[in-house]
Amino acid sequence: MDLLPSQEQQQIVDAARHFLEGEFPLADALQLAEGESRITREHLTRIAELGWIGIGLEEAWGGVGYGLCEEALLFVELGRALLPPSILCSVLGARIAAAGSTRGDAAEMGRVTGTILSGHCKIAAAVPRTSTSASIGDVVSGEFMLYEAGDADFALMCNTGGAALVSLSALKSLTPVSCIDPTLSAATFAADAIEASAFIATAQDDLYHRGALLCAALLLGIAEATLQRSVDYAKEREQYGKPIGSFQAIKHYCADMAIRCESLRAMLYYASVKLAQGDDSGRFDVHTCKALAVNYAQLNANTAVQIHGGMGYTQEMDIHLFVKRAQVLAGLFGGERQHLRDLLAQPRPD
């Protein structure tokens, strides 16, 4: 038993962080036009070359053959760097396509798997606007909020029953929406019995909980990044002749933020292991993880604004991007309320 990342796992983390800091400095995001994507098609292929999209996919399907733990570790770094959720959709999309390639239109899905893994296919996230109205299966209906539809090929939609890929060309009328997150484009659409390109049921591959876990990893990245920025700023910025970090109000905000990071990181590791090994408590732990992640990432990002004072409220610093991204990720793969309900409904975990 050892809950810390192994040396090999730590290398994946370090390499990812190094690459992301070098290639996707957040300062760039401050220069983008509203709705302009930080990840171009070209970027996506470079990311794919690193093996990130197939990192947790079995080698037999063209993946790298690591597991969920490595995927989760990588997504913490992607969250910290505020890379867009379409990468999460690519990772899950590759699994749908790969599974789809074993039945139905096998050749086509095999080809799609390849294009996703090579980064030549972009997948937008479609979130049911109310889960009661959405129906996701071989045929898809309902109202959805769609992120990064711009130059995407597919939309990925997912609920507790399963996950589907829908060709973006099948969606007739997208209504553009001005997104709270200026680095993401958004739109809504109503699907009325659209045929999915591929669908995979939860019983076959539990992408809902996998997605929720990876989304929690992205949120941990936000919680940690905003803590780090706050601590750095509190050491540097002086008021009344002292660094503001020496004032208890600020120091205690930071301490509470640190506990949230520690709690969430521990829970992410724990849930990753449990879900990966198909443990009885795996889903309970994922619900726990996502519920905490939504709550903690928002608290940390929002507190970071307060710690940064007036500057934190401007778009000259990047703090606001974390606040906004946390709102987007809060809704992906089940909101806080839903995960809390689900975890309370479960029997006592061992």
Binding site: Q239, Y240, V305, T314
Partner: protein, 387 residues
């Protein structure tokens, strides 16, 4: 302890109500910018013509010379009928104007007060500096006296509406050798004065109302000094007590509109599980708690006015109102986003005003003194705790 209005006050309220009913513009205020300025000035002109400008300002400068209760009655009716917010007019009406009334000389009053009420000018503030946000006393913008002028060099930040303002109330350091709270002067500056550079700052809600203002050898006549050279700390403290006293009264009253609108939203929005949001006990209790706290905010406002009326000067309790209200507003908008579910990420009609209000709410616990500074003030000035 009574909440009764006298017959005269009731009659006054009727007059206010009738006039507002007939005169509040039907169209919405245009977004910020030159059109916003034009709208604000036009509305102020309408108020002036109607005899409603400067309710509690002295008559000789165009005000109505009425008391705080009449001002309160006016503001309650004003807020209730959805009349336009202060916007660009805020500074002149609530900060610069009252400060000049309190500390200005006769010439200054005669020169600067009437144009505010007549809707001819917009004012802005130049207090905070890039290095000194909460710590106002450490400001560094220098003013060297030369003959009957001061020559100002330095920079200010968080100046609202600077691009669209005519005048600025500016704090500068006139005596660099004096202890930090001394040697500061409060002075009136023209915004088209040569040597100034005004740079808008984009805030997280997308607005560009805030600015950084740079001063390079800007000349200001000494007759523009209010309250005497090197006396600016005292003048600005008087002002902060207005800011924390009555200046936010309209927005306190407004907060009630906001929570009622949120309750309406909760009655019509469905959650992920298909129920109306208000059917979720967790949401219902939060709404009820906010409604209760906002009701008490109104009561606090009335208690504060009653106290001011007896003591003739706003007390430090104004800091409590400021802190309480700004934190309440943050909780309201955060709850709104929770109610909206996945739609919360839309900045347009889909989610109404709420996501933008949520982003804007972060300013409330920072501007005009951070919540942490307000807690210090309450602890030290209201409760007498050691610094």
């Amino acid at each position: 302890m009574n909440l009764d209005f006298s017959p005269e006050q009731v009659e006054f309220r009727e007059r206010v109500r009738d006039w507002l009913h007939d005169n509040v513009p039907a169209e919405k205020r245009p977004p910020d910018g030159a059109e916003g300025r034009a709208f604000d000035l036009a509305w102020q002109q309408t108020l002036y013509r109607g005899g409603w400008a400067g309710i509690n300002w002295p008559k000789e400068y165009g005000g109505q010379g009425l008391d705080t209760f009449q001002q309160l009655i006016f503001l309650m009716e004003y807020s209730r009928c959805g009349a336009p917010g202060d916007h660009y007019r805020f500074n002149g009406l609530n900060l610069a104007g009252p400060t000049i009334i309190a500390c200005g000389d006769e010439a200054q009053k005669a020169t600067y007060l009437p144009p505010i009420l007549k809707g001819e000018v917009i004012w802005c503030q130049g207090f905070s500096e890039p290095g000194a946000g909460s710590d106002l006393a450490s400001l560094k913008t220098r003013a060297v006296i030369e003959g009957d002028e001061m020559i100002v060099t330095g920079s200010k930040i968080w100046t609202s509406w600077a691009r669209f303002a005519d005048w600025q109330q500016l704090l500068v350091r006139t005596d660099p050798d004096a202890p930090r709270h001394q040697g500061i002067t409060w002075v009136i500056n023209r915004m088209d004065n040569p040597g100034m550079d005004i740079r808008p700052i984009r805030d997280m809600a997308g607005g560009t109302d805030l600015h950084e203002v740079f001063y390079d050898q800007v000349r200001i006549p000494l007759q523009n000094v209010v309250g005497g050279l090197n006396n600016g700390w005292k003048v600005s403290m008087a002002q902060l007590s207005f800011e924390r006293g009555t200046a936010f009264m309209p927005s306190q009253i407004e907060t009630q509109n906001t929570i009622e609108a949120l309750i309406e939203l909760a009655k019509t929005r469905r959650l992920e599980d298909g129920r109306y949001a208000i059917e979720d006990d967790h949401i219902a209790y939060q709404l009820a708690t906010l409604r209760a706290e906002i009701r008490s905010l109104l009561a606090m406002t009335l208690l504060g006015i009653s106290r001011n009326e007896r003591l003739a000067m706003p007390g430090p309790e104004g800091s409590m109102l400021k802190l309480f209200q700004s934190e309440l507003y943050k909780r309201i908008t955060a709850l709104a986003l929770d109610i909206l579910g996945p739609d919360r990420t839309a900045l347009d009609e889909l989610a109404g005003r709420w996501p933008r209000a949520f982003l804007g709410s972060f300013a409330n616990t920072l501007g005009g003194g951070t919540s942490e500074v307000m807690r210090n003030i309450i602890g030290e000035r209201c409760l007498g705790l050691p610094r």
